[in-house]
Amino acid sequence: MNALAEAIRPEVVQGPALWQREAEPAGEALVSFRQVGRQFQAGGRSVQALQEVSFDIRRGEIFGIIGRSGAGKSTLLRTINRLESPGSGQVLVAGKDLSGLNEAQLAQARRGIGMIFQHFNLLSSRTVAQNIGLPLKIAGLPQAEIDARVDSLLQLVGLEGKRDVYPSRLSGGQKQRVGIARALVHQPELLLCDEATSALDPETTQSILALLRDINRQLKVTVVLITHEMAVIREVCDRVAVLEAGKVVELGPVWQVFGAPQADATRALLASLNHELPADVAGRIVQEPASAQSELLLDVRLDGVSGQDPALGPLVAALGPATRLLHGGVERIQGRAQGRLVLACAPQSRNRLGDLARQLAIPAGNIRILGYVDHA
């Protein structure tokens, strides 16, 4: 067992700690949505928050649910731990339907599902240690056991020196770390994140996402997060479901959804991450070559399907040595190179585009002629 998992497993914990779980096969479902529907009454009319949602969240993955405001993300997330009850369909957690449980059983089941919130939801009148230990105190565990588990979690989230500090003295990122520690205190196998980084600045967001990734990998905790920011999904998730008006419009590995978005909603959400053409380039594009100096403008989209990095040699070989990179960028999502290159090349390269697609191992449809520009 790794050092991190060892460090946060106090000696006093009885029985097999959840942190010791071996990684299950990737295909095993921990959460299953089966035709889940949910209606709300608002202003005298019925609003369909969720419509026949069906998919699985696999054990051990980080699963993202993204959608615009009002798409039904929060409602869907809350059906997992029954903070919301589905109007129709079933939500299974580890094969069990929580709808049949009485209050005491539901309380017990919720202890196996950690949850963190956008606004941290810490008790202002309690210290960091008391906030983290709160669920254990409420469950009636002995103080020695609470202290041991709290100390190990403080170490895990990097707040060892903040044990007796009150939340009002913490930064947003530190508050969220306390929230994460509290969510892990019952050693859950599932962690729900409700817009957990929305109230944080970009730098702090990165550190919180890195912590979630560590928790997922080291402790084998399945993480489900909802967000409206594609950058968060790209950074940390294995798979993603895109919600629009209560329906799942797209579902798949993050690299695939980013590389070849199928739904309009996905494309709209990705728009903020796309490398838009700079205005000075876009303003110079014409549909026919204006002079002998005119160059062909190509938009090459790398979707990551091949898993290969784009080689520059074949690119130059196919388009000629005068090829220039005007705009674009490549980034790695789940180890796959994805991005967009806007290239200016000789007009006669128009006949070599099939060759270029083959060389780059991308579909021919991923190469688009934008027009012509004069060599400035």
């Binding site: 941290f120 009636g140 509290r182």
Partner: protein, 323 residues
């Protein structure tokens, strides 16, 4: 980041300012009000505060469990009406020859029933607490009028005789009762898992539900406790006034002022039983000082209203600094 740094500063400024104002008020009374610092008068403040204080303890429990947002959070507008009705029940039973034991159990039981009615309408029918407790307030006030025919019901019993007395230092036994109930509730709310659960539910209900707390049950129980406190203060009122008296609704404003002002007397600006006890004694001293200076009761109401406004504004300001 700046907001998280400015919250402690804002809290210190608000609390520091409040303490200075309180000290100035008490100093003014000590200088200008005759006998304000005499043992007899301090004993009288304790006796007067017992009725308001016990009522405010109940309201404090409701605010803890329901959260500090006065509109959507915990509030019980029926506390004063519960006092009036239970005082009438206690006095009526005494006048009909029932013993103190039956009268006390009945008064406290009816208080608990009133609290249960509040709790059920809020938890079961999802009515906003402001609306639900307003309805129950009017119901109880109506029942009190039916029972008393809007007249004073004088009463006398061994318990009334006992509690209206004082110890050998001149401190009224009602004052001891106030401290006893404060001690019991202090232990229950501040030092047990039950109290911790109330705080958890009140501050962040959804987070509390997510860790497995049945929030509805605890919100319901908070209103039952408030009702029981209403019953106990009804008995205290019967002792203080030697029977039931009309006009119990006049207690509502000072009780709300005490419960809300209590947060200023707590270290972290949250409602606590200890804070409510201190603010109860302050409001009691304020009312007493105004009486000694022959200042109209209307001014007392004005000051209490201003205090409520100031505390709600300060709480809202601090909440906006929370994230």
């Amino acid at each position: 980041m700046s907001s998280s740094i400015s919250k402690p500063l804002a809290l210190h400024l608000i609390q520091g300012g409040a303490y200075i104002v309180f000290a100035l008020v008490l100093f003014t009374f000590a200088v200008f009000a005759p006998h304000f610092l005499s043992l007899t008068n301090i004993a009288n403040i304790f006796a007067q505060t017992s009725i308001l204080g016990i009522l405010a303890f109940g309201l404090t429990v409701v605010v803890i469990a329901g959260g500090g947002n006065v509109i959507h959070g915990g509030i019980d507008l029926s506390v004063a009406a519960t006092l009036g009705f239970t005082s009438a029940i206690y006095s009526t039973l005494i006048n009909h020859g029932a013993g103190d034991a039956i009268a006390v159990v009945s008064a406290v039981g009816v208080g608990a029933l009133a609290g249960s009615l509040n709790g059920l309408t809020i938890v079961l029918f999802r009515l906003p607490p402001l609306l639900a407790t307003l309805a129950v307030m009017n119901l109880l006030a109506g029942l009190e009028l039916v029972l008393t025919q809007n007249t004073v019901l004088p009463a006398s019993s061994p318990l009334i005789d006992l509690l209206s007395g004082s110890d050998r230092f001149g401190i009224p036994l009602l004052g001891y009762l106030l401290l006893l109930i404060a001690a019991v509730l202090l232990l229950l709310i501040q030092y047990t898992p039950f109290g911790l659960r109330l705080y958890a539910i009140g501050e962040h209900r959804e987070a509390a539900r997510a860790i497995g707390l049945p929030s509805s049950r605890y919100v319901f129980l908070s209103y039952v406790i408030s009702g029981v406190c209403g019953g106990l203060s009804g008995i205290c009122a019967s002792v203080f006034f030697s029977g039931s008296s009309t006009g119990s609704q006049e207690f509502l404003l000072p009780v709300i002022a005490i419960a809300l002002l209590g947060v200023v007397f707590s270290r972290r600006f949250v409602p606590t039983i200890g804070g409510t006890l201190l603010s109860g004694l302050f409001i009691g001293a304020l009312i007493n000082g105004f009486q000694l200076l022959n200042i109209s009761n209307f001014w007392v109401n004005g000051v209490q209203g201003a205090l409520i406004l100031a505390i709600v504004a300060a709480s809202t300001f601090l909440r906006s600094r929370e994230v």
